[in-house]
Amino acid sequence: MGIFLCSSTLARLHMKNIYEVRQSNEIKSFIVIAGFFLFAAFVIYILTQTFGIYMGYQPGGFGYLGIALTFSGISTFVSYYYSDKIVLSISGAKEADRKEYFDFYTVTENLAISQGLPKPKIYVIDDSAPNAFATGRDYDHAVICATSGLLDKMTRSELEAVLAHELSHIKNYDMRLMSIVSVMVGIIALMADWLLRVRYFGGGRKNSDNEGSIGAIILILGIIFAVVSPIIAQLIRLAISRRREFMADAGSVEITRQPNSMISALKKLESDTEPLEAANKATAHLYIVNPFRGNIKGAVSWFSGLFNTHPPIEDRIKALESMA
């Protein structure tokens, strides 16, 4: 939280140029991600120790961590590796051709030229809720998907801003980062789940007597962690996701050099509260605006904000205005 508070005060104190924004974004992003990995390593260590004591073997066993890693890893890896194909089959997207979607096609082509990236494949989802997302495991398999609602409602320069935002996600390898983070969250959740189950069904063995008081402390600590850590891990994952949105916004301005078209695009998106039918939770973090958003204000909004993949649009506009 400290990081977020201090960023907004800083923004009020002085105007930043895009390079300063990029730098501070990169630093904040690095802090959040490094913090997450330290936290994940710590939790996994504690949980593994607790398992060891539960099951009566010497602490430090790797067996359960290995199983959790395999479970969570395989499923996430598959959805990451085939993300371009899976997402498209879910959302019923069709490939956009140059003639029918001239602006969409040519703007993507031009932005890719400006970044020296291969042109991503582009798809259109037939849905009147304006939104867009990017996916794909690397530059050669990158996909940008836009809804027909977005293409209808945006001017060419707004579309440029939105697509530059998506291209920044691709350029920053956000898909890869979020997949790795998801694996870690998955491992923590699985292990915590098992630990709590073992407590009910497999517990009750009296072999913890000879472990002494250290064993008892780790046991209690482990149970506390099993309850709390999946929630914390999830919250950090969402914080990372929100950080990456700010980064992609700044990246968009860096590509187009026009903060105002990003601002007007976001305002248009904000005024439209129609939910996107084709979205699902797995892909929500890659959309330009949260596809499940509603209009909640006040303290409830701060709390529900913690569970959001996207920062509030007003905050994103404020950050952009500091660059304009």
Binding site: I113, G116, T155
Partner: protein, 194 residues
């Protein structure tokens, strides 16, 4: 104890290698980005005659437009043939500079403005000048990254060691004009929506 010496030295070595690789690969990318500018200009000069022939019937009273387009195309061809970066950059700005004039002609005549062929012509012209602009942007960005890294500590030590000199990039005296034109041409869609 020897590790206290070996580990920092190894880290230093890996850092030096990565910085050296940055300079070398970034030079290659800069070269490729110059080729990309030429590539886009070539596309532009091949596109113009096509557009001309399809829109000629609609714009037969506006001969000035075609003369301007032909001029731009000749300049582009000459520049691409010469292979000189600065000439290519100038030629690329030429079409972008003409767009507002052509737009004025189209705007002033509702009959022309309404026709799909002419709209298509305008869109394609705008797109091709955007492409050249973005190709130039890539060169500008890449050479800026290179030069910043070359000048700042500690990577400048390695740059000096291997004698990497500053990259020229694009000369910026015509950049003011070019950016003005770009901003101008971003307004086109608003016109289309009317």
């Amino acid at each position: 104890m020897i590790w206290i010496l070996v580990i920092p030295l190894a880290l230093l070595f890996f850092y030096a290698v990565s910085v050296y690789n940055f300079f070398v690969s970034s030079k290659a990318r800069i070269k490729a980005s110059i080729q990309e500018i030429g590539n886009q200009l070539k596309r532009q000069s091949e596109l113009i005659p096509n557009l001309e022939s399809s829109a000629k019937g609609y714009l037969k009273h506006e001969k000035g437009i075609f003369e301007k387009l032909a001029d731009a195309r000749k300049a582009i061809n000459r520049a691409v043939e010469s292979g000189d970066l600065q000439k290519m950059a100038d030629a690329g700005a030429k079409l972008a500079g003409m767009l507002p004039d052509i737009k004025v002609v189209v705007e002033s005549n509702p009959e022309i403005k309404g026709s799909e062929v002419v709209q298509n012509l305008m869109n394609e012209l705008r797109d091709t000048s955007d492409k050249v602009m973005y190709a130039r942007r890539l060169l500008i960005d890449l050479s800026a990254d290179f030069n910043v890294k070359r000048a700042t500590f500690p990577s400048n030590v390695i740059a000096n060691m291997f004698g990497f000199s500053e990259v020229e990039g694009l000369k910026m005296d015509e950049a003011g004009e070019a950016t003005k034109v770009t901003r101008e041409s971003t307004k086109t869609p608003k016109v289309n929506l009317e």
